[in-house]
């Protein structure tokens, strides 16, 4: 049996396994009102995913008024004059489709998955709610309660999610990334329909939107449908929100939370640059950071599972994450739950020891090859999911990187050297740039 390891260098040098065979390209057009339309044909199944992406998320929000983008996302399902109440989802359902939406720091995305012959239904409905949204005050009041329940479900009653929220708030003193996506509960309690109307007026304009269609559709057909349904929506300028640059961090920060929990939990973040904000000559840093995260946590063979979970038995679970495609500079995060009988202090020491190891010695070539193999494989697996493909196009376009950035990933990973991984570890994973949140369980009452 041939030893695959010997084939890897030739493979990964770009010989045998280049970009997936016959990968289709994205076709683009821009309507007169500024709406960008992107189409990626994929006729493997008679299905399409249609998405509309707005260039607004929690990062555009201001203190005292957090959570508006996500709240607006909810209200977009509460009706227009032409399609009142909760008609939107009912009509998609009636046509055999599925629909949902999600808000992030850098964007808000709405999507429908449908049989190919129903695409126009989705486009008509999306154009309608871009053109007009009722924002009934009574519906707003109810939906605000729904969002508050969502916050309780996802954050308030989840110690690790709550810790994440606290990490962002402590790490970012000025930048809007410090604000929770769903908004502080206190801000939600004083949100008004008038605020939401103004938010929509400001950000939901065709020139600040992108329509992405992936699946069994031809670009010219989609362009024609887009012109038909969105073409008459008037253009409106969307002045960008002033960027709130984060002041330099000049020392480690720490938050010790005492909240209901059953185990300790540790989460730390180091200030790191985003690919999107680096000049071309420096973009290698972002890919090196991405590879660093893979060396730490790219799978069960990676360092954190191997050394902290299995080896030293100091972690029941441990992980690392670097947001390669964020719109703005973010955090490389390390997290863990201590193993039975071990403490958060030991876990923290072990995580920092792994950081030091990355700084003191270059990663092994086998580790880098493994990370590259994952990227190559994931690019193929991604072709199995229309939702994933449309998400990547919409997200990369909206943050400003361009959809081609995904295609470059394998080549960029090939170019990262062990010395570069060591260099970014030394430059960015330093104590003075670190923020740590530790969860200390409160003994539960009434047990």
């Amino acid at each position: 049996m041939p030893d695959a390891a010997r084939l890897l260098p030739a493979l990964l040098a770009g010989g045998l396994l280049a970009a997936p065979a016959a990968a289709a390209d994205v076709s683009e057009t821009v309507l007169g009102n500024g709406l960008r339309v992107l189409v990626l044909p994929d006729d493997r199944a008679p299905v399409v995913v249609s998405q509309i992406w707005y260039g607004v998320g929690s990062a555009q929000e201001t203190p005292g008024a957090t959570g508006l983008s996500h709240l607006l996302e909810h209200m977009m399902f509460r009706g227009t004059a032409r399609h009142p109440g909760e008609s939107f989802s009912r009509i998609i359902d009636a046509n055999g489709g599925r629909d949902n939406a999600y808000t992030s720091r850098d964007y808000t995305a709405y999507y429908q998955t449908l049989s190919r012959d129903r695409l126009e239904v989705a486009l008509e409905l999306e154009a309608d709610r871009l053109r007009d949204l009722t924002l009934d005050p009574e519906d707003f009041r109810k939906e605000l309660e729904v969002v508050r329940e969502e916050r309780r479900l996802r954050t308030e009653d989840q110690p690790e999610a709550y810790a994440y929220e606290q990490l962002q708030a402590a790490a970012f003193q000025n930048h809007a990334y410090g604000q929770p996506l769903i908004g502080w509960m206190e801000d939600l309690e004083q949100a008004t329909a008038a605020q939401l109307r103004a938010w929509r007026e400001r950000w939901y304009a065709p020139g600040n939107a992108r329509l992405v269609v992936v699946g069994d559709a031809r670009p010219e057909e989609v362009f024609a449908l887009a012109r038909k349904h969105f073409g008459d929506i008037p253009a409106r300028p969307t002045p960008p929100a002033p960027r709130r640059p984060e002041p330099a961090q000049r020392g480690a920060r720490r938050v010790d939370l005492r909240i209901p929990a059953q185990t300790e939990y540790l989460l730390m973040g180091f200030k790191t640059p985003a690919l999107n904000r680096l000049p071309e000559a420096q973009r290698w840093e972002a890919y090196a950071l991405s590879m660093l995260a893979s060396v730490l946590d790219g799978g069960n063979a990676a360092r954190l599972p191997a050394r902290l979970v299995r080896g030293g038995r100091v972690a029941a679970a441990a992980g690392a994450y670097y947001p390669l495609y964020g719109a703005d500079d973010g955090l490389l995060m390390l997290e863990g739950v201590p193993a039975e009988g071990r403490g958060a202090g030991e876990l923290e020491a072990a995580l920092l020891a792994e950081v030091r190891a990355l700084q003191e010695a270059p990663a092994g070539e086998a580790e880098l090859q493994r990370a590259r193999a994952q990227v190559i494989a994931q690019a193929v697996y991604a072709r199995d999911s229309l939702r994933h493909r449309s998400h990547m196009i919409g997200m990369l376009e909206t943050v400003g990187l361009g959809w081609e950035a995904e295609r470059e990933l394998a080549d960029r990973y090939r170019a990262v050297t062990a010395a570069q991984v060591q260099e970014v570890a030394r430059r960015y994973l330093v104590d003075g740039q670190r923020t740590t949140v530790a969860v200390h369980p409160l003994p539960a009452a009434g047990r």
Binding site: R44, V121, A445
Partner: protein
């Protein structure tokens, strides 16, 4: 509203084209059944080995199935856990396991090009299945991890609700035992228990192999033979007993510091492949399975703003699996939400869906069928289910016709049979400070 509905109706007659994928089936020499769908367009392969090794097989040691599944790849032949992981990850392959009450699955996703990568992934998969070493040290580690996971479960009011619900809905029956174990049972599991569990429950006689991907029939047969031969020889284990009926309706309240009350209402539901399954599945769309079209969503979320998530589902297993209606709301709203949910459920069980609701659900399911088979990932899910539960090979071909043939009365009768309020369990966790 009218215009868009007209838009929709204009295409109502144009049913979606696209036949269901062709399912091939054969029996391997070692006895395991094999199911295969060719999917040549993307150079990848999905494999699932389904085993009668679910948490319902834990016996006296809750947690044994999950621990055994986890331990499988922690040593194979002379490879330790790190070596096993490297063999998969060096070629971008994804290995995994799943443990459910009535089944377990060992899964692989791998590239089929270059051939050397495919072969390395399959070799590693075969070795894990054929020669797991269950190292003592890794057993200790996993035992400790599962103890931590037990404590973490208690942090999560939703997970606590599920555990208590299943114990109450399946009193004294394996489907009601905690899949993550108890502190005592985890402490008691020995390596011999894991080895015995593997011999008995990973046996080829009880195994089903599902494959979807860019290989031809001959290659699929070779792969299935290797996998079946890798499993311990032996018959399927004897069937689990049917669950005893719930003796009486109960409401169980469990204190928890959460701001929300997590509620589960339900009982034993329906078995996979039973005659009532399709009627219940179709009817449930209107009650709580159809997202924003469902009565529960429209009432508790849309009208009252009480909950972000509210749903109802049947989880069919080899024996009747649970029916669960769930929602979460802050403590101060619990009583209103509970009353509303119960009223919706009672009304639905008494009367079934309206004709209009049924038509909406039916059309949506028929028109939406192509979405169910649009990816390799969804196809292998169906294939695994068809194979493991012994459903007919034309399951996907006849699916829409079966949905279209079900009338209101049949749904109403099925709900009355399945959801007797006298056997209903209600579990409420947390939210008790009434805020």
């Amino acid at each position: 509203m009218r215009r868009a509905l007209l838009l929709a109706l204009a295409w109502a007659l144009a049913a979606p084209a696209g036949a269901a994928p062709r399912i091939e089936h054969w029996r391997t020499a070692a006895g395991a059944a094999a199911y295969f769908i060719a999917a040549p367009q993307i150079p990848m392969l999905d494999v699932q080995v389904l085993l009668d090794a679910g948490s319902g097989r834990d016996g006296e040691l809750p947690g044994l199935a999950r621990l055994s599944a986890g331990l499988l790849a922690d040593g194979a032949g002379d490879w330790d856990a790190a070596a096993v992981a490297r063999r998969f990850e060096d070629v971008g392959a994804q290995y995994g396991t799943e443990v459910h009450p009535d089944r377990a699955a060992v899964t692989l996703r791998a590239l089929t090009e270059p051939a050397a990568w495919r072969e390395q992934a399959l070799d590693a998969f075969v070795r894990v299945l054929s020669a797991p070493s269950f190292p003592e040290a890794e057993l200790e580690r996993r035992r400790a991890q599962m103890q931590t996971a037990l404590r973490k479960l208690d942090e999560d009011p939703g997970a606590v609700a599920q555990r208590e619900f299943h114990a109450a809905a399946y009193p004294g029956h394996p489907y009601g035992a905690p899949a993550g174990g108890t502190a005592a049972s985890l402490a008691a599991i020995a390596r011999a228990d894991v080895a015995a569990f593997h011999r008995r429950h990973f046996a080829a006689g009880g195994a089903v192999i599902a494959l979807v991907g860019a290989v031809d029939r001959a290659a699929a047969e070779r792969i299935a033979e290797r996998l079946a031969a890798a499993l311990p020889a032996g018959p399927a284990p004897p069937a689990l007993p049917a669950p005893p009926p719930i003796p009486a309706a109960r409401t169980i309240r469990i204190p928890h510091p959460s701001t929300q009350a997590h509620v589960l209402i339900g009982q034993q539901g329906v078995a996979r492949g039973a005659p009532d399954h399709f009627p219940l599945y179709l009817g449930n769309y209107s009650l709580g399975g159809g997202g924003f079209s469902s009565r529960l969503m429209r009432d508790l979320r849309g009208e009252r703003g009480l909950a972000y998530s509210v749903y109802s589902y049947f989880f069919p297993l080899r024996h009747p699996g649970p029916f669960r209606l769930g929602f979460q709301t802050r403590g101060g709203q619990l009583e209103e939400a509970l009353a509303a949910a119960r009223a919706q459920l009672d009304r639905f069980v008494a009367d079934g869906p309206t004709a209009e609701e049924l038509e909406h659900a039916r059309r949506g399911m028929v028109l939406g069928f192509p979405l169910r088979i649009a990816s390799n990932a969804s196809m292998i899910g169906y294939l695994a289910m068809i194979g493991y539960y012994g459903l007919p090979l034309d399951y996907l071909d006849t699916w829409t016709a079966r949905i279209e043939a079900i009338g209101r009365e049949r749904i109403a009768a099925a709900f009355r049979r399945a959801l007797d309020p006298a056997r209903r369990i209600t579990v409420i966790v947390g939210g008790q400070d009434g805020r």
